[in-house]
Every structure is written in structure tokens, then in C-alpha cells.
């Protein structure tokens, strides 16, 4: 809101017209009761697409469970894992899900601290995405273990056998960091939801009322409660940001700490964090479009907000591209022949198609978002966001697999490793699990933050009024 000092009436009208033409992030005339009604309505009567997505994801999840049970009973060998391809797509997809979990934090915590109020209608589902994708990522760690039933050996807990995990192993750091991040983001998600749960409680009946009453832990909306709520929420946001950065840096150390060509790169932690924010933003765009239609959120998830998201995604995609090029360049101009050979294998070997696809999808496709026509077009953004997510999944695939196929030891070079149906089934199942949980969440909990949207509307109207007063000739300061 730049203070307007022109008292030329015609000019002012022209400027006003320009402001009017520019679409607003949200309809500022919307009443608070209307907000409550719309959001609470999303808990009861979604469009039929909701049930299509829910049952499709449930089916995918069941298929994944079947594959996992088969693998659990028979052994990991059925998933076409072998020596030296010991990790396969499980770890690649694990990184993908960890990455997805970052943008919830970006939207809710970082933009909160930056006072970007357009995040308010969309941060809740982004946080839910964070939580559920972290849970999915955690599942992959378990699925990939040879002896799932002893996963707790990795966790540092005092025990009577005096046996500790190996603290020099990045996997232990992983377990600790993911556990901490998951706990904190669940608390953050839940805590930010309490005032809305109280609204749900006030409007619900029967067993749902009981449920929301328990969940809203006695929220009455007193000044005292609000004051404490604000401070705690801000503290949690400040706590969550370093956690988010640490989690993906630590996942990157899984690779950077190891000795293998193509992994042993010091630039991996920032590269992974950038990739995480990137894929997370793209996933938010996808879910934004789905939720907007499914739960009739057209008034809250508006085109201008989509456009801002697209701009954010584009900016992050350029950061990722830069770090990607830095990684290639440092290998190419470096003196490590093994790493260079691994890079050449990526670009020309068995997986060359995937590698080039990753670079094109990750670095070229985002340029579509430089066009306003694309940014404001929902089908186009849907396609672009899905392509970007495919590109980011391919990036993780290209980090993990080629290094196994073309490591240090020529005898173990394998040129033709591909995943089989069990692995793909588990991965499809993970998407089902995530979507199912996410859709359930949106059905049970308000996926648009009612109180924050009210705040947003309130503050915008106030800012507009303030600007209008400043524009008025009477309000002009006398000096200069």
C-alpha cells in the first residue's frame, strides 16, 4: 500500500480503476458466517469426485498392502532387488516423500514469519500434506528394511542390553530427524487447528460434536487463550523451520556421507532442500486444484493465489536448477574420475532417457509458468504441476539407481536393472495411502483455516480503508 499523495481527482480514479481490475486474492466482502458455512460444508457434502479419489486411493493402498505382505513373507528378493541394486526405488521414493513434506512448512511457517497473508486459505492442507507425506516416507524406511520387525534397533533409546545405534551412521540421524520433524509437524498442524475445531464443535451434532469437543480442548476464544495461542503458534513455527531444513539435509547426508561416485557430493544438502521445496510446491499446486474443485473452495483457493503459488514454484525451480548445474559442473571440472564417469553414465548410459527427462521436466517445463496465461489456467497448472512432480521423482530415481549400476567396481556394473511389479505396487500403494489419508483429513477437519481467512479479510479491509484515508486530501501531511 504505497501512500497516495496525488490530489488530482482524475488520476486517482484511474489508479483506483487499476486496483479494481487487478483480481483480489479473496473476496473481501465475504461475511464471516459465509466462511464458516462454506468450510463446514466441505466436511459434509463434497463433490462426487471426492469419493472417486478416495476409493481409487483406497484401492491403490490395498494393492500396495498386498505387495508388501507378499514381500514381507517371501523376502525382499521378490522386489527385484539384487546386488548391487540393493535399494531400488524404495529409497528414491522415500526421498520423494520426504521432499513433499517440506512445502507445508514453507507455506505455513516461513510465509507466516514473512507476513505473506495469501498463504492463509491454503496453508492448512499444505501442513496436512507435510504430515501425511512424512508418514508415507517413514513407511518406506520400514518397507525397505530386511527385518522390519527389528526397526527399533535404529532408534536411540536406553535399553537393558546397553546396545546403542551407531551414531556415525546417517540413518540414525535420519530416524532421529524424521521422528522429531513428524512429531513437531503433527503438533503444529493440530495446534493451528484448535480454534477451527471449536467452530466445528459449535456447529456439529451427535457423536461428531463429542469428537470435536475432545479435539478442541476447551477452546472458548477468550483473549487470554488467543494471546497464548499466538505466542505458542509463532514459537512452533520458528522451531519447525530449522527442523524442516535439517531433515532433508540429513537425508542428503545419507548419500553425501557415503563414498560412492555420484553421491559423495558436498552440495547435496542444499540441493536436496531445494528439490524438496520444489516438489512440495508442485504438489501443493496439484492438491490445491483438486481440493478447490472437490470441496467447492473456489472462493478461497482463488486464481490469484494459484498464480502466486506458481510464481513461488518457478522461483524455487530456478534455485534447484542452479544447484543442479552446480553439481554437474563441480563434478565435470573436478578431479574425481569416478564421479565424472558416473555422471557420464547418467547422461549416456541405460538411464539416459530418464536423466534427460528429469532435466527437461525439472528445468525447462517450469518456464511454462512464466506465462500468465498458464499460471491462471487451472488445467494447464494441473498438467505442469504433475509434470514437475514426475520430474522430481525422476530426480531421486536418478540419484539412487545409476550410482548402484555404475559404481567403483567395474565387475558389478549392471546396465539393465529395472524395478518389477512388487516394487511399483508398493510405490503405487504409497500414493494411495497418502491420498487416502489426505482426503480423509480434508473430510474430517477443516482444510481451509476459517479463523485465518477471517483475519485475512479483516486485515485487508482495514488496510484498504487505511490507504483510502491516507489518499484523502485531508489526511495529507503539511510539510514537504
Amino acid at each position: 500500500m504505497t501512500p497516495h499523495t496525488h490530489d488530482d481527482h482524475e488520476h486517482e480514479v484511474a489508479t483506483e480503476a487499476r486496483f479494481v481490475i487487478k483480481p483480489k486474492d479473496i473476496n473481501e466482502e465475504i461475511s464471516w458466517a459465509q466462511i464458516n458455512e462454506d468450510v463446514l460444508g466441505s466436511l459434509e457434502r463434497p463433490r462426487p469426485l471426492f469419493w472417486v479419489i478416495f476409493f481409487a486411493s483406497l484401492a491403490a493402498f490395498c494393492w500396495g498392502v498386498y505387495c508388501e505382505i507378499y514381500q514381507y513373507r517371501t523376502g525382499l528378493g521378490v522386489a527385484a532387488l539384487e546386488n548391487p541394486q540393493v535399494w531400488g526405488l524404495y529409497i528414491a521414493t522415500f526421498i520423494f516423500w520426504i521432499g513433499m513434506s517440506h512445502s507445508g512448512t514453507l507455506l505455513s511457517a516461513i510465509l507466516l514469519l514473512m507476513h505473506a497473508d495469501w498463504r492463509k486459505p491454503i496453508y492448512r492442507f499444505a501442513e496436512a500434506m507435510t504430515t501425511f507425506s512424512l508418514m508415507t516416507a517413514g513407511l518406506f524406511v520400514l518397507v525397505h528394511l530386511g527385518r522390519i520387525w527389528q526397526f527399533y534397533y535404529v532408534v536411540a533409546y536406553p535399553n537393558e542390553r546397553w546396545a546403542w545405534p551407531n551414531f556415525s551412521s546417517p540413518l540414525v540421524w535420519d530416524a532421529t530427524a524424521i521422528g522429531t520433524y513428524l512429531t513437531t509437524s503433527i503438533i503444529f498442524l493440530y495446534f493451528g487447528m484448535i480454534p477451527d475445531l471449536a467452530i466445528c464443535r459449535d456447529k456439529a451434532h451427535g457423536f461428531r460434536r463429542t469428537f470435536y469437543r475432545v479435539m478442541s480442548v476447551g477452546w472458548k476464544g477468550t483473549d487470554w487463550q488467543w494471546a497464548n495461542f499466538r505466542v505458542t503458534y509463532l514459537t512452533l513455527a520458528c522451531l519447525l523451520i530449522p527442523l524442516a531444513v535439517s531433515v532433508h539435509s540429513i537425508v542428503a547426508t545419507d548419500f553425501a556421507v557415503s563414498q560412492q561416485p555420484g553421491w559423495h557430493t558436498t552440495s547435496f544438502p542444499p540441493y536436496f532442500v531445494a528439490g524438496a521445496l520444489y516438489s512440495g510446491c508442485a504438489a501443493i499446486v496439484t492438491l490445491f486444484i483438486i481440493l478447490r474443485y472437490t470441496f467447492r473452495f473456489e472462493q478461497y483457493m482463488t486464481i490469484p493465489i494459484l498464480e502466486k503459488l506458481a510464481k513461488l514454484t518457478f522461483a524455487i525451480s530456478m534455485v534447484w536448477t542452479y544447484l543442479n548445474v552446480v553439481e554437474y559442473a563441480s563434478v565435470w571440472y573436478g578431479t574425481d574420475p569416478y564421479a565424472k564417469q558416473a555422471l557420464i553414465f547418467r547422461a549416456t548410459g541405460t538411464y539416459a532417457g530418464w536423466w534427460w527427462a528429469m532435466n527437461i521436466l525439472g528445468s525447462v517445463v517450469p518456464f511454462a509458468m512464466t506465462f500468465k496465461a498458464v499460471r491462471t489456467n487451472i488445467p494447464a497448472m494441473m498438467v505442469v504441476s504433475l509434470l514437475l512432480n514426475l520430474g522430481m521423482w525422476t530426480e531421486r530415481f536418478m540419484i539412487v539407481t545409476p550410482t548402484f549400476a555404475h559404481g567403483y567396481y567395474p565387475w558389478t556394473w549392471t546396465g539393465n536393472w529395472w524395478p518389477n511389479w512388487v516394487q511399483i505396487g508398493v510405490i503405487v500403494g504409497s500414493f494411495g495411502w497418502f491420498t487416502m489419508l489426505f482426503m480423509l483429513f480434508c473430510k474430517i477437519f477443516p482444510s481451509v483455516s476459517m479463523y485465518e481467512v477471517k483475519e485475512m479479510v479483516y486485515h485487508r479491509i482495514r488496510a484498504r480503508k487505511k490507504a483510502a484515508t491516507q489518499r484523502a486530501p485531508v489526511a495529507q501531511p503539511a510539510q514537504s
Partner: protein, 316 residues
Amino acid sequence: MSFDNMTSNWSKLRVRHPQPDQYKDAPYKWGMVIDLDACTGCNACTTACYAENNLPVVGKERFLGGQQMHWIRIERYWGEGTESTQEFPEQGAQFLPMMCQQCEAAPCEIVCPVGATHHTPDGLNSQVYNRCVGSRYCSANCPYKVRYFNWFDYPESAWPSPLEQQLNPDVTVRTKGVMEKCTFCVQRLTEAKSKARTEKRTVRDGEVLTACAQACPSSAIHFGNLADPSSQVAQMWKAQQVELSAYPQKKNEQEETERLGGQVELVPYPQNKSEQNVETEQLGESGEKLRGYRVLEDLRTYPSVVYLERIRSTEA
């Protein structure tokens, strides 16, 4: 209690291998020398290993799928040779037995989340099956890819009754989901050590052999105690001027430079004691060419296995 244990033993958890003279006062440091000139690629070592260590035979399909469990493998390389040197054609295949190199600075040890693979005081890189959760990080970080994972529950399929009667009772039959690898036949070492202890002595050279060394018909595999300076293996290491904790040697720099086209200047490694004298660097004390090397030495994993280069008759 366990906190105390961890904090009081913190320095032990942080031990770095190798340290200079680490095994000077230790009774044992098991090591190996493999003479590639003697290796005929007969696979007797592999067979002996299967019998000794209860390795499952996985069948052709799984073998081709990369799920084989051979702790020691014979790698066969066909040299194409170039017209100018005519180096390879008359020599045909070259063989290299590859097993766990029992690295002193093992990449697998630092990354195992549960400490299932760790260094023993004997200089072995041990694998604790009970502790292994099967994250396969060790295999991912192994430069030699000599770690084998139990992709299936082999006890049921590999030894149908009455074949389980032929299993070696001294060796655990591994369950599915754990990593395993060459142990230098640790069951034999333990037995020999325990026998020697009852007689109040250390294990004599040649008293204990790994199954592969025992089975090798051309005696290409030498096994012994490096901590004993008089053992055959220690003598061979010394003759080849390989030191356990030393950086790779620049042996025959002239030849290397020529091989790389005469333009490449080798990146100097930190000075080894033996490199101070250029005369003795190229030729051993007995006057023969030095041909000992360790695989992927420049990664500084400090393997306990020395390979002796094959002698090539380039004059033929």
C-alpha cells in the same frame, strides 16, 4: 546404566582405523595375499566357501537376477588388447578372486545404523547377524560390492531335507533380511585361537587357513597373521612393500606414466617410507619387480588383502 556405558566408552566408539602401529602389540591381525599369477580361475575357492560357510545355492534364475550369495567370487576379465602392444590376446582370460577385503577403514562400518558390522581387535570386519536390521546401507557404501543380502529365506529352499545334515555346525544359518559376507572363516580362527590359548601360545603360521586358501590347488591364496612378522603373509607384504596403514605406493611410476600416454603426471600420494629410496621402490629386496597392490587403494579403505599382479610376458 546404559547411558554410563555409552559415555564412558565414547572414545572407543570413535576409534579410527587404521592407526600407525595399531597391531604392533596385538596378537593377531589377519591378512591375505592372493597371487593372481597362480590363480587359474578354477573356482575351487568358491566351492569350498559354499561348503564351509553354509552358503545357499540360489539357482540359475536368481543367480542371473543378481541375487547370488557367493562370498568369494572369481571375476573373469577378457583383455581385448591393442595391436600396438599385443598385450592380451595370447593370455586370454584373467581371473581375480574377490571377497570382503576386511578393510581397516571400512566404508561399511561407519554407515551401519545399528553397528551390526564393526571392527574386531583381530582386524576383521565382522558382521553380527542378530543385530542386522537389513538396511543394506553397508552394501550401498561398499566399493567392492562384496556384501550379500539374504533376499529370501534360504534355509527352507536351499537345503531341503536331508541336505540340512551337511551344514557346517560351526556356522550360523542366516535368516532372510540380514546382510552377510566373507568372514575370513572366523569360526576356524576362533577355534585355532582358543586351542592356542589353552596351550598358552599364539596361533602358529599355517595352523589355520581359510577354506578358500585351503582349497586352492595352485596355492594362490595365502592367509596368515600379519601381526606375526615371521608369518608367510607378513613376509610377503613386506617383500611387496605394502604396509597396512600406509598410503598407496607409487611403484614403477615410469611404467604408469607410459601406460597413461606419457603425458599424465601422477598425483603424488603422501610419502611412504619405502618411497624415499627410488631404487628399492621399483624392485623388491630380492631384486624382483614389485607387484603387490590392494584393490581401489586410492579410496583409502586400507584393505587387508594384497593382490600380486599377474606377470605378463610382453616379449612373446
